[in-house]
């Protein structure tokens, strides 16, 4: 195929690179008799946006939650900044698929909640929260409650909350799946802007091929039952172009097609 040069093989280098913020080593996960993940080895480079992509049931969310320390791995280890971790830590922040906002708290308090738990003073966390409210485009909604916001705005609150704790690594679990298509595109563009602005490492879970190709520096394809790394693809898309041009770009379309060919065997 013409675009085969775009895709690197699935074999993973040893943990030699200093640039790897998160290292996943031989991670397996069993739920009783069900093998959810088998022998996952991955490295996530600093400042990159890596997508875990695969059909439902491939364990991509499980892998993300293992990296977050929310779910224990059956075997293997996760290293963050070179140190093995088994629980959530300040260098990682999680964005939830269902937003996980406290319905009884205002936007301002929800965004500052990570800081509140760390004992940051009210004045300090409000200042930080307001800065991120501005960044995600929610200015004017500080005193609203989650039920007064649209789905898209709720997820902006979830993203601002994760940014506010200033973690090195942001873990996003299908953050746009509950957002409608129009807002989803706007969101993807905003996410790219935030990636540029914040210089953080992003690990992103999605089941949308287009979304993955559009936002990612690297795409990890997982195969289902048990979840294994089947392919690693670096889309190499020129992001200086306008969003609409990217979506019409030949490279973009070729990568989407290539991933589809890789995944279609799993579709019923």
């Amino acid at each position: 195929m013409a675009n085969s040069a775009l895709a690197r093989s699935g074999s993973v280098k040893a943990a030699s690179s200093n640039d790897a913020v998160v290292q996943v080593r031989d991670v397996c996960k069993n739920y009783g008799d069900i093998e959810a993940l088998r022998g996952i080895n991955l490295e996530f480079e600093r400042g990159n946006l890596t997508t875990l992509l695969g059909p439902s049931g491939c364990g991509k969310t499980t892998l993300l939650k293992i990296i977050a320390g929310l779910v224990p791995a059956t075997s293997g280890e996760i290293r963050v900044n070179g140190r093995a971790v088994t629980a959530p830590g300040p260098e990682r922040a999680f964005v939830f698929q269902d937003f996980a906002l406290m319905p009884w708290a205002t936007v301002l308090r929800n965004i500052g909640f990570g800081l509140e738990l760390k004992g940051v003073t009210a004045a300090e966390r409000d200042r930080t929260a307001r800065r991120y409210i501005e960044q995600v485009g929610l200015a004017g909604f500080e005193q609203k409650y989650p039920h007064e916001l649209s789905g898209g705005m709720r997820q902006r609150v979830g993203i601002a909350r994760a940014f506010a704790v200033n973690a090195d690594v942001l873990l996003l679990d299908e953050p746009f799946s509950a957002v409608d298509e129009q807002n989803r595109r706007k969101f993807q563009e905003d996410l790219l802007r935030l990636v540029e602005l914040e210089k953080k490492t992003f690990i992103f879970v999605t089941h949308s091929i287009e979304e993955a190709v559009y936002v990612s520096d690297r795409i990890v394809l997982l195969s289902p039952r048990p979840g294994r790394v089947s392919q690693i693809i670096d889309p190499m898309i020129d992001r200086t172009a306008s969003p609409d041009d990217i979506r019409r770009d030949a490279v973009y379309l070729d990568v989407v097609e290539e991933i589809w060919q890789g995944l279609r065997q799993y579709a019923e």
Partner: protein
Amino acid sequence: MQMSVSPAKLRDGIGAPKEVPPTVLEKIQSFADERRSFWIVVSLTLLFASWEMAGRIPISFAFPTFLETLSAFGEMVADGSMHKAYLITLQPLVMGVLVSALVGIGLGVAMGLSDKAEWLLAPVFIVLQAAPMAALVPLVTFVYGIGLTAKTLAVIMLALPVIVLNSYKAVRHVNPSLVDMCRSFQGSRVQQIFKIIIPDASPVLFAGLRLGIAAGFIGVMLAELLITPTGIGDLITYHRSVANYAHMYAAVASIIAVSTLTLAGLQYVETHLLRPEKRRK
């Protein structure tokens, strides 16, 4: 409050709310559309009007009209017997409800948080909730006599199981995603309980408290009617025995009103202290 008034009966209530001049029908219509209080007043007016009519038919010589009952109530307030009765009735009621609320929420939350606590305690409270408590009240009298202790215990026996079981259910139904969120930001277990679990459980916790307090009122009336007549129970028993039916009904209606107002007050506390977002719905 119930708002089950059919539109056809709306005309009956037009004269009732004081805020509305009964001249312009449209004004009332728009008021009725946006104000809940209008419907509450209509509902109560209908209830009292049908009571009045039933008393006038009369459906029984022992059934006083609403107005007779109201004047009997005024009389009992004026001669101080109502105050004295409530002073006595409220003692076992308030103590019993406070103990049930504190112990009940404590045990229920513990059962929600820990499987061991659930396995240990749940069977006891499920049996207690299923048991017909009125049958147990005389047993309490055998052990604790006829004093305040026995009456307080009667209140607790009725209020506690429902509060425990609701609190337990409330904690078990907390959104797991919120708990994960708290963990992902390194919240401690204590922060998790007080900042996430209890606020998220509070609607069901309060539903349990409301049921528990209502059961506490049943308990105190059972105690005052079955153990020894004191307080409101004494007023009811005494006025029944001398065929002062209006006074007896006034005592009964007053305890219902007190119970209703207590529950409404609790709802106010819940929405204003714990779940501010509910006010904006």
